[in-house]
């Protein structure tokens, strides 16, 4: 029996399956990290006030301390706040460059670090892509700004905040999102489903007739109890459904806030232990985020216990200094109406795609896509499926950053930066007969380089 045969054969899986799998994989890996990041930003303002208070207190203490133990070898980089950089190393050989510009930071200014990236193992430590690249390229004595976290999410999953563990909250949120999805679908199908088996036996007066298989699949999707709640005695209770949908959306917002609070609380609770674990190095905690300033050679011979327990990321200077910029200023027109909603699909990161039932839902989902992904993805991708011959000119109003010609002649992907999203143009395209469907998703890929992409404004 050839045990190894199977794994070699797996290398010959069709490319589209591999691609789709890797896309989902990277999205799933981004999920928690992007939530952490988004929620951190939400909390940033309120934390700033607390931070200032801590900073002021620390300044007094540290300057007192420095005055008593001045050591010229332990100089801080300009721009690295001495008040929060503790404990400056027990190792006498340790010193930081005197200029923060000499420290290697993550290049983006709108995120704390590259926490949405996949992780690789380097010298027994889990490091992010950007940190890995920095470690491969930086001089051995160059200081890197590193964010340290516990590698496993298990601690976070088990962390109890306000009576519930993080994992319980995640599951509840997933359940609420799934319920919302079913509600939104029922808004579209409720008027038909109220006829029950007649849908596939006789068919309806307007000519609608489902197959039995499809009917059963839809019943299974909704569940008997949900259907009986909104279809009573052959009447579809649309208004009741709308109310339930509103309530569920409100619950989702509340639960997301709780998760945000939970993450912040968790980060603050574990920060002291992380700082202690790395106390032999230049380490500090800011708002629950633990920063380590270390050279590649020191990291290669890291002398901490169980170093495989930690995950490390390259930190951005803007995040460290507390002035993260907004990645985008989405200005989505929210008064547009007349979308061909039945053609629009929002590709969900979870298992089911979202199909908006009305104009309001299109705009809301578009906003949610931007809100959720603006810090981790460059743009929104609109994938158009069409029957006729479409040209790039037809998408000019979309103010696109790039157009990807796919291997299928019936598909075109239009990449639009968040700030350029034009819902009026989207509406008009959705109404075109040639376009059969439009899939919308945050793009995890890179935008084309500016000089390679055609300037949409030029003829």
């Amino acid at each position: 029996m050839k045990q190894n045969a199977f794994h070699r054969v797996m290398s010959y899986i069709d490319n589209d399956i591999v691609d789709a799998f890797l896309d989902i994989k990277s999205k799933k890996e981004r999920k928690i990290s992007s939530q952490r990041k988004t929620h951190s930003f939400l909390k940033w303002g309120s934390m700033a006030a607390v931070f200032c208070l801590v900073l002021a207190t620390s300044l007094v203490l540290i300057f007192t301390h420095l005055g008593q133990n001045a050591d010229p070898a332990l100089t801080l980089p300009a721009g690295v706040d001495p008040a929060v950089t503790l404990p400056m190393g027990a190792d006498p050989a340790f010193s930081l460059p005197t200029d923060a510009d000499q420290i290697l930071w993550y290049e983006k200014s709108n995120v704390l670090c590259d926490e949405d990236a996949s992780m690789v193992t380097w010298r027994g430590i889990q490091v992010s892509e950007a940190l890995y690249e920095a470690l491969c390229r930086a001089e051995n004595d160059r200081y890197l700004a590193v964010i340290v976290r516990y590698r496993t999410d298990e601690r976070l999953n088990q962390y109890v905040f306000d009576g519930k563990s993080y994992l319980e909250r995640e599951r509840e949120l997933d359940a609420l999102r799934s319920l919302t999805n079913r509600y939104e679908m029922l808004q579209k199908e409720g008027e038909q489903l109220k006829f029950k088996e007649r849908l596939y036996t006789e068919g309806l007066a307007d000519g609608t007739k489902w197959t039995k298989d499809f009917y059963e699949e839809r019943i299974a999707f909704y569940g008997e109890s949900l259907l009986s709640e909104f279809i009573e005695s052959g009447v579809f209770l649309a208004e009741k459904l709308e109310n339930s949908l509103s309530q569920t959306r409100q619950q989702i917002r509340e639960e997301e806030q709780k998760i945000s609070d939970s993450i912040q609380s968790y980060d603050e609770s574990v920060a002291p232990a992380l700082v202690r674990a790395f106390e032999a190095y230049a380490v500090t905690a800011k708002n629950g985020t633990v920063y380590l300033f270390i050279t590649p050679s020191a990291l290669a011979s890291l002398a901490v216990e169980n170093k495989a327990d930690y995950a490390m990321y390259l930190a951005s200077r803007a995040g460290y200094e507390g002035h993260l910029s907004d990645a985008a200023s989405p200005d989505i027109q929210d008064t547009v109406s007349g979308f061909a909603c039945d053609k629009i699909v929002f590709d969900s990161l979870d298992t089911e795609n979202l199909r908006p039932s009305n104009d309001e839902a299109v705009l809301r989902l578009l906003n949610e896509t931007v809100e959720k992904w603006q810090y981790t993805c460059d743009c929104v991708e609109f994938t158009f499926y069409y029957r006729g011959v479409l040209t790039e000119e037809m998408f000019q109003e979309m103010r696109y950053a790039g157009i990807v010609q796919t291997d299928s002649p019936a598909r075109m992907i239009v990449q639009v930066k968040y700030a350029d999203i034009n819902t009026e143009a989207l509406k008009e395209l959705s109404q075109m007969a040639e376009i059969t469907s439009i899939h919308i998703a945050a793009s995890t890929g890179s935008l084309p380089q500016p000089n390679a992409a055609e300037d949409p404004s030029s003829p």
């Binding site: 045969a5 794994h7 797996m10 069709d14 799998f21 690789v120 995640e170």
Partner: protein, 197 residues
């Protein structure tokens, strides 16, 4: 002054990278490493668990891609390089295991699926491997998204079961159970095709 190629190549699409290979532009390898280095490393690491071996495999992969393009023009560059990396890493794994047993997810993963293919199927035969790959691709298309995800995570990326379970917020035993079901389904599917067993 020489243009800053780092900046200029930063936003290249996969199509652009392939074009660099076609032009025999040496930047192609650097850009590939920039974009896919960690991804390739991860594939190799799951199989080999040895940083030095992984780096060697990465270099071998870049060389293979350089030699393969042209004439090849892959439709999916990522899947193309992933396939090359998998094959090189698996070869390396076999080479090492001939001498001794190495700790690897592949070892465990192989033991899980050892009964799927018979002695008659020679994986070294590329044509046969491609045919079998098509069969399994068809089987995968029949699966639901979640099942396909679990299957690919374990048998394509060779991810540890613990990691898959964490990602999906389920227990490890649930993943084991699901993998057992999937293997049984695949075995049945292959038997129905009359190709194996």
């Amino acid at each position: 002054m020489e243009p800053d190629t780092t900046t200029r190549t930063k936003g290249l699409s996969d199509e652009n990278i392939i074009e660099l290979y076609w032009q025999k532009n040496e930047n192609a390898i650097r850009v590939t490493n920039d974009r896919y280095g960690p991804f390739l490393y991860r594939i190799a690491y799951n199989i080999l668990h040895d940083p030095q071996d992984c780096e060697e495999c990465q270099n071998d992969t870049y060389l293979s891609v350089w030699n393969a393009i042209p004439p090849t023009r892959p439709q999916s560059f990522r899947a193309f390089i992933a396939r090359i990396m998998r094959n090189i890493a698996i070869d390396k794994y076999y080479e090492k295991t001939r001498k001794k047993r190495v700790p690897s997810e592949l070892t465990f993963s192989m033991e899980e699926c050892g009964d799927l293919l018979s002695d008659r199927e020679d994986p070294a035969d590329e044509i046969m491997a491609e045919e079998l790959g098509k069969m399994i691709s068809h089987f995968l298309r029949l699966l639901g998204e979640k099942d396909r995800y679990i299957f690919m995570s374990r048998f394509y990326l060779v991810e540890p079961i613990e990691e898959i379970a964490k990602e999906l917020h389920v227990t490890e035993s649930a993943i084991y159970k699901k993998l057992t079901q999937l293997k049984a389904a695949l075995k049945k599917y292959l038997a129905e095709k009359g190709v194996f067993l």
